[in-house]
Protein backbone atom coordinates (compact mmCIF):
# COMPACT_ATOMS: atom_id res chain seq x y z
CA UNK A 1 0.00 0.00 0.00
CA UNK A 2 2.74 2.43 1.01
CA UNK A 3 4.92 1.73 -2.01
CA UNK A 4 1.88 1.74 -4.28
CA UNK A 5 0.80 5.18 -3.03
CA UNK A 6 4.34 6.46 -3.37
CA UNK A 7 4.61 5.34 -6.98
CA UNK A 8 1.19 6.75 -7.92
CA UNK A 9 2.20 10.01 -6.24
CA UNK A 10 5.42 10.12 -8.22
CA UNK A 11 3.48 9.69 -11.46
CA UNK A 12 1.25 12.69 -10.67
CA UNK A 13 4.24 14.55 -9.28
CA UNK A 14 6.03 14.05 -12.59
CA UNK A 15 3.31 15.96 -14.45
CA UNK A 16 3.25 18.64 -11.73
CA UNK A 17 7.01 18.92 -12.06
CA UNK A 18 6.74 19.29 -15.82
CA UNK A 19 4.23 22.14 -15.49
CA UNK A 20 6.12 23.75 -12.64
CA UNK A 21 9.34 23.74 -14.67
CA UNK A 22 7.62 25.50 -17.57
CA UNK A 23 6.15 28.03 -15.21
CA UNK A 24 9.39 28.57 -13.32
CA UNK A 25 11.33 28.97 -16.53
CA UNK A 26 9.26 32.04 -17.42
CA UNK A 27 9.39 33.28 -13.86
CA UNK A 28 13.17 33.02 -13.69
CA UNK A 29 13.55 35.34 -16.68
CA UNK A 30 10.70 37.82 -16.44
CA UNK A 31 9.91 37.62 -12.72
CA UNK A 32 6.17 37.31 -12.97
CA UNK A 33 3.56 34.60 -12.58
CA UNK A 34 2.46 33.48 -16.01
CA UNK A 35 -1.20 32.77 -15.29
CA UNK A 36 -1.80 32.11 -18.99
CA UNK A 37 0.22 28.92 -18.74
CA UNK A 38 -2.83 26.84 -17.81
CA UNK A 39 -4.65 27.84 -20.99
CA UNK A 40 -1.62 26.96 -23.10
CA UNK A 41 -1.63 23.51 -21.50
CA UNK A 42 -5.36 23.23 -22.21
CA UNK A 43 -4.91 24.23 -25.85
CA UNK A 44 -2.03 21.79 -26.19
CA UNK A 45 -4.35 19.02 -25.05
CA UNK A 46 -7.02 20.13 -27.53
CA UNK A 47 -4.52 20.20 -30.39
CA UNK A 48 -3.28 16.72 -29.50
CA UNK A 49 -6.82 15.39 -29.21
CA UNK A 50 -7.86 16.91 -32.51
CA UNK A 51 -5.00 15.56 -34.60
CA UNK A 52 -5.23 12.14 -32.95
CA UNK A 53 -8.97 11.67 -33.28
CA UNK A 54 -9.94 13.62 -36.37
CA UNK A 55 -6.89 13.42 -38.58
CA UNK A 56 -5.85 9.89 -37.80
CA UNK A 57 -2.33 10.83 -36.83
CA UNK A 58 -0.53 8.19 -34.73
CA UNK A 59 -0.16 8.90 -31.03
CA UNK A 60 3.56 9.64 -30.97
CA UNK A 61 3.25 12.10 -33.81
CA UNK A 62 0.21 13.78 -32.24
CA UNK A 63 2.19 14.32 -29.03
CA UNK A 64 4.84 15.96 -31.15
CA UNK A 65 2.28 18.15 -32.94
CA UNK A 66 0.78 19.14 -29.61
CA UNK A 67 4.26 20.10 -28.36
CA UNK A 68 4.96 22.23 -31.41
CA UNK A 69 1.50 23.81 -31.34
CA UNK A 70 1.67 24.70 -27.66
CA UNK A 71 5.19 26.07 -28.08
CA UNK A 72 4.08 28.35 -30.91
CA UNK A 73 1.04 29.48 -28.93
CA UNK A 74 3.17 30.28 -25.91
CA UNK A 75 5.56 32.22 -28.14
CA UNK A 76 2.69 34.16 -29.72
CA UNK A 77 1.34 34.84 -26.25
CA UNK A 78 4.62 36.49 -25.29
CA UNK A 79 4.91 38.53 -28.46
CA UNK A 80 1.34 39.82 -28.30
CA UNK A 81 0.66 40.23 -24.60
CA UNK A 82 4.00 40.70 -22.86
CA UNK A 83 6.59 42.13 -25.23
CA UNK A 84 5.24 45.69 -25.19
CA UNK A 85 5.09 45.61 -21.39
CA UNK A 86 8.64 44.32 -21.32
CA UNK A 87 9.89 47.14 -23.50
CA UNK A 88 8.17 49.63 -21.24
CA UNK A 89 9.78 48.06 -18.14
CA UNK A 90 6.37 47.65 -16.57
CA UNK A 91 6.12 46.21 -13.07
CA UNK A 92 5.24 42.56 -12.68
CA UNK A 93 1.72 43.50 -11.66
CA UNK A 94 0.94 44.51 -15.23
CA UNK A 95 2.39 41.29 -16.61
CA UNK A 96 0.24 39.28 -14.24
CA UNK A 97 -2.95 41.07 -15.26
CA UNK A 98 -2.08 40.69 -18.92
CA UNK A 99 -1.48 36.99 -18.32
CA UNK A 100 -4.79 36.75 -16.50
CA UNK A 101 -6.55 38.43 -19.42
CA UNK A 102 -4.92 36.03 -21.86
CA UNK A 103 -6.08 33.11 -19.79
CA UNK A 104 -9.67 34.38 -19.63
CA UNK A 105 -9.58 35.11 -23.35
CA UNK A 106 -8.30 31.70 -24.41
CA UNK A 107 -10.46 29.72 -22.02
CA UNK A 108 -13.65 31.42 -23.12
CA UNK A 109 -12.64 31.35 -26.76
CA UNK A 110 -12.61 27.57 -26.43
CA UNK A 111 -16.00 27.67 -24.67
CA UNK A 112 -17.47 29.85 -27.41
CA UNK A 113 -16.09 27.95 -30.36
CA UNK A 114 -15.57 24.31 -29.34
CA UNK A 115 -17.98 24.18 -26.42
CA UNK A 116 -17.82 22.93 -22.86
CA UNK A 117 -17.98 19.23 -23.74
CA UNK A 118 -15.54 16.85 -22.11
CA UNK A 119 -13.48 14.82 -24.54
CA UNK A 120 -11.85 11.55 -23.57
CA UNK A 121 -8.87 10.04 -25.27
CA UNK A 122 -9.31 6.43 -26.45
CA UNK A 123 -8.77 4.07 -23.57
CA UNK A 124 -5.89 2.16 -25.06
CA UNK A 125 -3.18 3.50 -22.82
CA UNK A 126 -5.21 4.19 -19.72
CA UNK A 127 -6.53 0.66 -19.35
CA UNK A 128 -3.28 -1.22 -19.42
CA UNK A 129 -1.45 -1.97 -16.24
CA UNK A 130 2.10 -2.89 -15.55
CA UNK A 131 3.07 -4.59 -12.34
CA UNK A 132 6.44 -5.19 -10.91
CA UNK A 133 7.43 -6.18 -7.40
CA UNK A 134 3.83 -6.19 -6.19
CA UNK A 135 3.18 -2.64 -7.35
CA UNK A 136 0.69 -2.16 -10.12
CA UNK A 137 0.82 0.95 -12.20
CA UNK A 138 -1.08 2.19 -15.24
CA UNK A 139 0.95 2.17 -18.41
CA UNK A 140 0.09 5.84 -18.80
CA UNK A 141 1.64 6.63 -15.41
CA UNK A 142 4.80 4.81 -16.43
CA UNK A 143 4.90 6.87 -19.59
CA UNK A 144 4.28 10.03 -17.58
CA UNK A 145 7.18 9.32 -15.26
CA UNK A 146 9.55 8.36 -18.06
CA UNK A 147 8.50 11.16 -20.36
CA UNK A 148 8.66 13.84 -17.66
CA UNK A 149 12.10 12.66 -16.67
CA UNK A 150 13.30 12.66 -20.25
CA UNK A 151 11.81 16.09 -20.99
CA UNK A 152 13.22 17.65 -17.85
CA UNK A 153 16.61 16.09 -18.42
CA UNK A 154 16.54 17.28 -22.02
CA UNK A 155 15.77 20.80 -20.91
CA UNK A 156 18.52 20.63 -18.32
CA UNK A 157 21.00 19.43 -20.93
CA UNK A 158 19.92 22.20 -23.30
CA UNK A 159 20.29 24.88 -20.63
CA UNK A 160 23.68 23.61 -19.52
CA UNK A 161 25.32 23.01 -22.87
CA UNK A 162 23.83 24.98 -25.71
CA UNK A 163 24.72 28.58 -26.42
CA UNK A 164 21.08 29.68 -26.13
CA UNK A 165 20.80 27.77 -22.85
CA UNK A 166 23.76 29.60 -21.41
CA UNK A 167 22.26 32.89 -22.57
CA UNK A 168 18.97 31.98 -20.86
CA UNK A 169 20.76 31.21 -17.62
CA UNK A 170 22.71 34.43 -17.84
CA UNK A 171 19.55 36.44 -18.50
CA UNK A 172 17.89 34.90 -15.47
CA UNK A 173 20.69 36.25 -13.30
CA UNK A 174 20.88 39.72 -14.76
CA UNK A 175 19.05 40.75 -17.90
CA UNK A 176 20.88 44.06 -18.36
CA UNK A 177 24.40 42.76 -18.00
CA UNK A 178 23.45 39.92 -20.29
CA UNK A 179 22.29 42.44 -22.87
CA UNK A 180 25.52 44.42 -22.49
CA UNK A 181 27.45 41.30 -23.33
CA UNK A 182 25.81 41.14 -26.69
CA UNK A 183 22.99 38.69 -26.03
CA UNK A 184 19.84 39.34 -28.00
CA UNK A 185 17.46 39.29 -25.06
CA UNK A 186 14.41 39.41 -27.30
CA UNK A 187 15.50 36.17 -28.92
CA UNK A 188 16.37 34.56 -25.61
CA UNK A 189 12.94 35.35 -24.20
CA UNK A 190 11.36 33.96 -27.34
CA UNK A 191 13.28 30.72 -26.73
CA UNK A 192 12.17 30.60 -23.11
CA UNK A 193 8.54 30.82 -24.11
CA UNK A 194 9.00 28.20 -26.84
CA UNK A 195 10.53 25.81 -24.32
CA UNK A 196 7.86 26.51 -21.72
CA UNK A 197 5.20 25.96 -24.38
CA UNK A 198 6.77 22.65 -25.38
CA UNK A 199 6.57 21.44 -21.79
CA UNK A 200 2.97 22.67 -21.70
CA UNK A 201 2.22 20.54 -24.75
CA UNK A 202 3.59 17.39 -23.11
CA UNK A 203 1.81 17.98 -19.81
CA UNK A 204 -1.40 18.88 -21.64
CA UNK A 205 -1.32 15.55 -23.49
CA UNK A 206 -0.72 13.57 -20.31
CA UNK A 207 -3.38 15.43 -18.36
CA UNK A 208 -5.83 14.94 -21.21
CA UNK A 209 -5.13 11.22 -21.32
CA UNK A 210 -5.20 10.78 -17.55
CA UNK A 211 -8.35 12.81 -16.94
CA UNK A 212 -10.14 14.44 -19.87
CA UNK A 213 -9.90 17.37 -22.24
CA UNK A 214 -12.13 20.31 -21.29
CA UNK A 215 -11.90 24.13 -21.25
CA UNK A 216 -11.10 24.58 -17.56
CA UNK A 217 -8.51 21.83 -17.33
CA UNK A 218 -5.86 24.55 -17.08
CA UNK A 219 -7.00 24.99 -13.48
CA UNK A 220 -4.56 22.27 -12.54
CA UNK A 221 -1.69 24.72 -13.06
CA UNK A 222 -2.62 26.12 -9.64
CA UNK A 223 -0.91 22.97 -8.40
CA UNK A 224 2.09 23.83 -10.53
CA UNK A 225 2.33 27.22 -8.81
CA UNK A 226 2.24 25.47 -5.47
CA UNK A 227 4.93 23.07 -6.63
CA UNK A 228 7.03 26.00 -7.82
CA UNK A 229 6.60 27.76 -4.48
CA UNK A 230 7.64 24.62 -2.60
CA UNK A 231 10.83 24.49 -4.62
CA UNK A 232 11.31 28.25 -4.69
CA UNK A 233 9.92 30.43 -7.46
CA UNK A 234 12.24 30.70 -10.42
CA UNK A 235 14.38 27.71 -9.51
CA UNK A 236 14.21 24.81 -11.98
CA UNK A 237 15.59 22.04 -9.76
CA UNK A 238 13.24 23.43 -7.11
CA UNK A 239 10.29 23.07 -9.45
CA UNK A 240 11.11 19.42 -10.12
CA UNK A 241 11.56 18.57 -6.46
CA UNK A 242 8.51 20.65 -5.51
CA UNK A 243 6.34 18.91 -8.09
CA UNK A 244 7.36 15.46 -6.91
CA UNK A 245 6.90 16.38 -3.24
CA UNK A 246 3.47 17.85 -3.90
CA UNK A 247 2.35 14.88 -5.98
CA UNK A 248 3.44 12.38 -3.34
CA UNK A 249 2.01 14.39 -0.41
CA UNK A 250 -1.33 14.82 -2.18
CA UNK A 251 -1.61 11.15 -2.98
CA UNK A 252 -0.81 10.23 0.61
CA UNK A 253 -3.39 12.66 1.93
CA UNK A 254 -6.10 11.32 -0.36
CA UNK A 255 -5.12 7.71 0.40
CA UNK A 256 -4.80 7.95 4.16
CA UNK A 257 -7.05 10.89 5.11
CA UNK A 258 -9.65 11.59 2.44
CA UNK A 259 -9.66 12.78 -1.14
CA UNK A 260 -11.92 15.68 -0.15
CA UNK A 261 -9.22 17.20 2.06
CA UNK A 262 -6.65 16.93 -0.71
CA UNK A 263 -7.19 20.32 -2.33
CA UNK A 264 -7.65 22.14 0.95
CA UNK A 265 -4.42 20.53 2.04
CA UNK A 266 -2.53 21.70 -1.05
CA UNK A 267 -3.73 25.28 -0.82
CA UNK A 268 -3.18 25.49 2.91
CA UNK A 269 0.27 24.07 2.35
CA UNK A 270 0.88 26.90 -0.11
CA UNK A 271 -0.20 29.62 2.32
CA UNK A 272 1.71 28.11 5.23
CA UNK A 273 4.81 27.60 3.14
CA UNK A 274 4.77 31.18 1.93
CA UNK A 275 4.77 32.29 5.54
CA UNK A 276 7.32 29.92 6.96
CA UNK A 277 9.63 29.43 4.03
CA UNK A 278 8.87 32.02 1.35
CA UNK A 279 12.04 31.24 -0.57
CA UNK A 280 11.09 27.59 -0.88
CA UNK A 281 13.72 24.89 -0.85
CA UNK A 282 16.00 26.35 -3.51
CA UNK A 283 14.74 29.92 -4.00
CA UNK A 284 16.88 32.98 -4.01
CA UNK A 285 14.89 36.13 -3.27
CA UNK A 286 12.71 36.98 -0.34
CA UNK A 287 11.79 40.65 -0.38
CA UNK A 288 10.96 42.91 -3.24
CA UNK A 289 14.10 44.32 -4.78
CA UNK A 290 14.57 48.03 -5.35
Amino acid sequence: MFIQTLVTGLAIGGIYALMAVGYSLVFSILNFSNFAYGSIIMLGAYIGYYVLMHMGVPLALSVLISIVGAALLCFANERLAYSTLRKRNASSLYFMISAMGTSIFLENLVYATIGSRFYAFPEVLTQQNVSFGGVSLGLLDVFAIVFSAVAIYGLHYFLQNSKTGIAIRAASYDMQVCQLNGVNVNKVIGWVFLLAGALAGISGMFLGMKYMVYPTMGWITNKAYIAAVIGGLGSLPGAVVGGLILGVLETFVSAYVSSVVRDVFSFSLLVILLLVLPTGLFGKFLEEKV
Binding site: L80, N222, V260, D263
Partner: protein, 294 residues
Amino acid sequence: MLEYVSGIITFSLIYVIATVGLAVFTGFTGLFSLGHAAFFAIGAYTAGILTYFYDVNFWAALAAGVAVSSLVGVLIGYPTLRAKLRSDYFAIATLGFGEAVRVLLENLDITQGARGLPGIASETTLPIVIVFTVLVLWVARNFVHSRYGRAAIAVREDFVAAEMMGINLFQVRMRSLVFSAGCAGLAGGLFAHYVSFIQPGMFTAALSTQLTASVVAGGMGSITGPTVAAVLFVAVPEALRMASMWRLVAYGFLLVAIMVFRPQGLFGFREISWQSCVRCFRKKPAAAGGGAGQ
Protein backbone atom coordinates in the same frame (compact mmCIF):
# COMPACT_ATOMS: atom_id res chain seq x y z
CA MET B 1 -38.90 45.84 -17.41
CA LEU B 2 -38.48 48.31 -14.59
CA GLU B 3 -37.80 45.44 -12.24
CA TYR B 4 -35.20 44.07 -14.63
CA VAL B 5 -33.40 47.42 -14.85
CA SER B 6 -33.47 47.91 -11.11
CA GLY B 7 -32.10 44.39 -10.73
CA ILE B 8 -29.15 45.21 -12.96
CA ILE B 9 -28.53 48.43 -11.04
CA THR B 10 -28.63 46.55 -7.74
CA PHE B 11 -26.13 43.98 -8.99
CA SER B 12 -23.85 46.65 -10.39
CA LEU B 13 -23.87 48.57 -7.13
CA ILE B 14 -23.16 45.43 -5.08
CA TYR B 15 -20.10 44.87 -7.25
CA VAL B 16 -19.21 48.54 -6.94
CA ILE B 17 -19.05 48.16 -3.15
CA ALA B 18 -16.63 45.24 -3.42
CA THR B 19 -14.61 46.93 -6.18
CA VAL B 20 -14.20 50.19 -4.32
CA GLY B 21 -12.89 48.24 -1.35
CA LEU B 22 -10.39 46.49 -3.57
CA ALA B 23 -9.50 49.79 -5.28
CA VAL B 24 -8.41 51.12 -1.90
CA PHE B 25 -6.23 48.05 -1.44
CA THR B 26 -4.79 47.24 -4.87
CA GLY B 27 -4.98 50.73 -6.33
CA PHE B 28 -3.43 52.45 -3.35
CA THR B 29 -0.90 49.96 -2.02
CA GLY B 30 0.03 48.23 -5.29
CA LEU B 31 -0.50 44.71 -3.96
CA PHE B 32 -2.46 42.44 -6.21
CA SER B 33 -5.12 40.23 -4.65
CA LEU B 34 -6.44 37.21 -6.52
CA GLY B 35 -8.57 35.96 -3.65
CA HIS B 36 -11.09 38.65 -2.92
CA ALA B 37 -13.94 36.36 -3.91
CA ALA B 38 -13.15 34.58 -0.65
CA PHE B 39 -13.98 37.68 1.41
CA PHE B 40 -17.11 38.14 -0.67
CA ALA B 41 -18.04 34.50 0.01
CA ILE B 42 -17.28 34.76 3.71
CA GLY B 43 -19.54 37.81 4.01
CA ALA B 44 -22.28 36.13 2.01
CA TYR B 45 -22.13 32.87 3.95
CA THR B 46 -21.84 34.48 7.38
CA ALA B 47 -24.82 36.75 6.79
CA GLY B 48 -26.73 34.04 4.95
CA ILE B 49 -26.24 31.38 7.60
CA LEU B 50 -27.19 33.77 10.38
CA THR B 51 -30.53 34.74 8.84
CA TYR B 52 -31.20 31.30 7.39
CA PHE B 53 -30.49 29.03 10.34
CA TYR B 54 -30.63 31.37 13.32
CA ASP B 55 -33.25 33.93 12.29
CA VAL B 56 -30.93 36.78 13.12
CA ASN B 57 -32.01 40.28 12.15
CA PHE B 58 -30.86 41.25 8.63
CA TRP B 59 -28.84 44.26 9.77
CA ALA B 60 -27.11 42.32 12.51
CA ALA B 61 -26.30 39.53 10.06
CA LEU B 62 -24.89 42.05 7.60
CA ALA B 63 -22.72 43.56 10.31
CA ALA B 64 -21.57 40.09 11.34
CA GLY B 65 -20.63 39.35 7.73
CA VAL B 66 -18.52 42.50 7.57
CA ALA B 67 -16.95 41.72 10.93
CA VAL B 68 -16.06 38.12 10.07
CA SER B 69 -14.56 38.94 6.69
CA SER B 70 -12.56 41.82 8.19
CA LEU B 71 -11.34 39.43 10.85
CA VAL B 72 -10.32 36.88 8.23
CA GLY B 73 -8.61 39.77 6.44
CA VAL B 74 -6.58 40.40 9.58
CA LEU B 75 -5.78 36.70 9.94
CA ILE B 76 -4.60 36.32 6.35
CA GLY B 77 -2.99 39.76 6.22
CA TYR B 78 -1.03 39.56 9.45
CA PRO B 79 1.38 36.82 8.37
CA THR B 80 1.52 37.63 4.64
CA LEU B 81 1.99 41.37 4.98
CA ARG B 82 4.30 41.02 7.96
CA ALA B 83 6.57 38.78 5.91
CA LYS B 84 6.73 41.54 3.24
CA LEU B 85 6.17 38.99 0.53
CA ARG B 86 7.06 40.02 -2.99
CA SER B 87 3.94 41.06 -4.85
CA ASP B 88 3.97 37.80 -6.86
CA TYR B 89 4.11 35.71 -3.76
CA PHE B 90 1.35 37.76 -2.23
CA ALA B 91 -0.82 37.27 -5.33
CA ILE B 92 -0.24 33.52 -5.27
CA ALA B 93 -0.87 33.40 -1.52
CA THR B 94 -4.23 35.14 -1.98
CA LEU B 95 -5.02 32.83 -4.90
CA GLY B 96 -4.37 29.86 -2.63
CA PHE B 97 -6.42 31.44 0.14
CA GLY B 98 -9.35 32.02 -2.23
CA GLU B 99 -9.30 28.44 -3.48
CA ALA B 100 -8.92 27.03 0.03
CA VAL B 101 -11.97 28.99 1.23
CA ARG B 102 -14.05 27.82 -1.72
CA VAL B 103 -13.09 24.18 -1.24
CA LEU B 104 -13.84 24.50 2.48
CA LEU B 105 -17.29 25.94 1.74
CA GLU B 106 -17.93 23.00 -0.55
CA ASN B 107 -17.16 20.53 2.22
CA LEU B 108 -18.48 22.04 5.43
CA ASP B 109 -21.77 20.87 6.91
CA ILE B 110 -23.06 24.29 7.91
CA THR B 111 -22.72 25.61 4.36
CA GLN B 112 -24.52 22.55 2.97
CA GLY B 113 -21.62 21.93 0.61
CA ALA B 114 -22.05 22.38 -3.11
CA ARG B 115 -25.84 22.40 -2.77
CA GLY B 116 -25.64 25.86 -1.26
CA LEU B 117 -28.19 27.72 0.80
CA PRO B 118 -31.51 28.08 -1.01
CA GLY B 119 -34.21 30.46 0.15
CA ILE B 120 -32.34 33.04 2.16
CA ALA B 121 -34.72 35.84 3.10
CA SER B 122 -34.82 38.44 0.35
CA GLU B 123 -34.07 41.62 2.27
CA THR B 124 -31.78 43.68 0.07
CA THR B 125 -33.55 46.35 -1.90
CA LEU B 126 -32.29 48.97 -4.31
CA PRO B 127 -32.52 51.90 -1.85
CA ILE B 128 -30.53 49.96 0.76
CA VAL B 129 -27.82 49.17 -1.78
CA ILE B 130 -27.71 52.79 -2.96
CA VAL B 131 -27.27 54.01 0.60
CA PHE B 132 -24.47 51.54 1.24
CA THR B 133 -22.75 52.37 -2.04
CA VAL B 134 -22.77 56.07 -1.27
CA LEU B 135 -21.54 55.35 2.23
CA VAL B 136 -18.68 53.16 1.02
CA LEU B 137 -17.70 55.66 -1.67
CA TRP B 138 -17.72 58.44 0.88
CA VAL B 139 -15.59 56.50 3.35
CA ALA B 140 -13.20 55.46 0.58
CA ARG B 141 -12.86 59.05 -0.60
CA ASN B 142 -12.17 60.28 2.89
CA PHE B 143 -9.72 57.46 3.45
CA VAL B 144 -7.81 58.28 0.30
CA HIS B 145 -7.59 61.97 1.12
CA SER B 146 -6.63 61.35 4.71
CA ARG B 147 -3.15 60.97 6.13
CA TYR B 148 -3.53 57.21 5.83
CA GLY B 149 -4.42 57.42 2.17
CA ARG B 150 -1.42 59.61 1.40
CA ALA B 151 0.79 57.16 3.26
CA ALA B 152 -0.67 54.35 1.14
CA ILE B 153 0.05 56.24 -2.07
CA ALA B 154 3.62 56.82 -0.93
CA VAL B 155 3.96 53.09 -0.28
CA ARG B 156 2.62 52.25 -3.71
CA GLU B 157 4.94 54.64 -5.50
CA ASP B 158 8.12 53.67 -3.70
CA PHE B 159 7.91 51.62 -0.57
CA VAL B 160 11.59 51.83 0.23
CA ALA B 161 11.48 55.61 0.21
CA ALA B 162 8.19 55.56 2.11
CA GLU B 163 9.62 53.29 4.76
CA MET B 164 12.61 55.58 5.13
CA MET B 165 10.25 58.48 5.72
CA GLY B 166 8.94 56.62 8.71
CA ILE B 167 5.80 55.10 7.24
CA ASN B 168 4.98 51.72 8.69
CA LEU B 169 4.53 49.56 5.59
CA PHE B 170 2.79 46.78 7.41
CA GLN B 171 0.29 49.06 9.09
CA VAL B 172 -0.61 50.91 5.90
CA ARG B 173 -1.11 47.75 3.89
CA MET B 174 -2.98 46.03 6.69
CA ARG B 175 -5.39 48.93 7.10
CA SER B 176 -6.23 48.91 3.38
CA LEU B 177 -6.58 45.14 3.31
CA VAL B 178 -8.99 45.08 6.24
CA PHE B 179 -11.05 47.89 4.71
CA SER B 180 -11.27 46.04 1.40
CA ALA B 181 -12.11 42.74 3.11
CA GLY B 182 -14.87 44.49 5.03
CA CYS B 183 -16.28 46.02 1.85
CA ALA B 184 -16.20 42.66 0.08
CA GLY B 185 -17.96 41.12 3.08
CA LEU B 186 -20.64 43.79 3.00
CA ALA B 187 -21.13 43.24 -0.73
CA GLY B 188 -21.35 39.51 -0.07
CA GLY B 189 -23.99 39.94 2.62
CA LEU B 190 -26.07 42.19 0.38
CA PHE B 191 -25.62 39.75 -2.50
CA ALA B 192 -26.79 36.76 -0.45
CA HIS B 193 -29.93 38.59 0.63
CA TYR B 194 -30.61 39.82 -2.86
CA VAL B 195 -30.36 36.62 -4.91
CA SER B 196 -31.50 34.57 -1.86
CA PHE B 197 -29.49 31.59 -3.01
CA ILE B 198 -25.75 31.11 -2.63
CA GLN B 199 -23.46 28.23 -3.45
CA PRO B 200 -19.66 27.93 -3.45
CA GLY B 201 -19.53 27.83 -7.25
CA MET B 202 -20.50 31.52 -7.34
CA PHE B 203 -17.31 32.59 -5.61
CA THR B 204 -14.61 31.19 -7.84
CA ALA B 205 -11.35 32.74 -8.95
CA ALA B 206 -13.33 34.24 -11.85
CA LEU B 207 -15.05 36.59 -9.40
CA SER B 208 -11.73 37.59 -7.86
CA THR B 209 -10.40 38.29 -11.32
CA GLN B 210 -13.43 40.34 -12.21
CA LEU B 211 -12.98 42.52 -9.13
CA THR B 212 -9.28 43.00 -9.73
CA ALA B 213 -9.89 43.60 -13.43
CA SER B 214 -12.39 46.35 -12.63
CA VAL B 215 -9.80 48.08 -10.48
CA VAL B 216 -7.10 47.79 -13.11
CA ALA B 217 -9.34 48.73 -16.01
CA GLY B 218 -10.76 51.67 -14.09
CA GLY B 219 -7.35 52.94 -13.13
CA MET B 220 -5.11 52.12 -10.20
CA GLY B 221 -5.21 55.01 -7.79
CA SER B 222 -8.65 56.20 -8.66
CA ILE B 223 -11.92 55.55 -6.84
CA THR B 224 -14.40 56.71 -9.45
CA GLY B 225 -12.63 54.94 -12.32
CA PRO B 226 -13.04 51.46 -10.83
CA THR B 227 -16.62 52.37 -9.90
CA VAL B 228 -17.45 53.04 -13.53
CA ALA B 229 -15.54 49.95 -14.64
CA ALA B 230 -17.42 47.78 -12.13
CA VAL B 231 -20.76 49.03 -13.42
CA LEU B 232 -19.63 48.45 -17.00
CA PHE B 233 -18.42 44.93 -16.25
CA VAL B 234 -21.82 44.01 -14.84
CA ALA B 235 -24.14 46.04 -17.03
CA VAL B 236 -22.59 45.58 -20.46
CA PRO B 237 -22.52 41.76 -20.34
CA GLU B 238 -26.13 41.93 -19.17
CA ALA B 239 -27.08 44.03 -22.17
CA LEU B 240 -25.22 41.65 -24.48
CA ARG B 241 -26.77 38.56 -23.00
CA MET B 242 -27.31 36.82 -26.32
CA ALA B 243 -23.59 36.91 -26.95
CA SER B 244 -22.99 35.43 -23.51
CA MET B 245 -20.01 33.30 -24.50
CA TRP B 246 -18.27 35.94 -26.51
CA ARG B 247 -18.56 38.64 -23.87
CA LEU B 248 -16.06 36.82 -21.67
CA VAL B 249 -13.76 36.44 -24.66
CA ALA B 250 -14.03 40.18 -25.24
CA TYR B 251 -13.45 40.78 -21.54
CA GLY B 252 -10.18 38.85 -21.56
CA PHE B 253 -9.12 40.60 -24.72
CA LEU B 254 -9.96 43.97 -23.18
CA LEU B 255 -7.76 43.24 -20.16
CA VAL B 256 -4.76 42.45 -22.34
CA ALA B 257 -5.45 45.43 -24.58
CA ILE B 258 -5.65 47.78 -21.62
CA MET B 259 -2.36 46.47 -20.27
CA VAL B 260 -0.67 46.79 -23.64
CA PHE B 261 -2.10 50.10 -24.83
CA ARG B 262 -3.26 51.96 -21.75
CA PRO B 263 -1.63 50.52 -18.64
CA GLN B 264 -2.75 53.36 -16.42
CA GLY B 265 -6.35 52.18 -16.84
CA LEU B 266 -9.19 53.95 -18.54
CA PHE B 267 -9.13 56.86 -16.14
CA GLY B 268 -5.61 56.72 -14.79
CA PHE B 269 -5.17 58.55 -11.52
CA ARG B 270 -7.91 60.96 -12.40
CA GLU B 271 -11.16 61.07 -10.55
CA ILE B 272 -14.39 61.84 -12.29
CA SER B 273 -15.85 64.89 -10.69
CA TRP B 274 -17.97 67.84 -11.69
CA GLN B 275 -14.88 69.91 -12.50
CA SER B 276 -13.30 67.26 -14.71
CA CYS B 277 -16.53 66.95 -16.66
CA VAL B 278 -16.65 70.68 -17.22
CA ARG B 279 -12.97 70.83 -18.13
CA CYS B 280 -13.32 68.00 -20.59
CA PHE B 281 -16.34 69.64 -22.10
CA ARG B 282 -14.53 72.90 -22.67
CA LYS B 283 -11.43 71.36 -24.17
CA LYS B 284 -13.19 69.14 -26.63
CA PRO B 285 -16.72 70.25 -27.31
CA ALA B 286 -17.06 67.32 -29.68
CA ALA B 287 -16.61 64.79 -26.88
CA ALA B 288 -20.14 65.01 -25.61
CA GLY B 289 -19.58 61.91 -23.49
CA GLY B 290 -18.43 64.04 -20.57
CA GLY B 291 -15.81 62.78 -18.14
CA ALA B 292 -15.78 59.33 -19.65
CA GLY B 293 -14.39 60.79 -22.87
CA GLN B 294 -10.93 61.18 -21.44
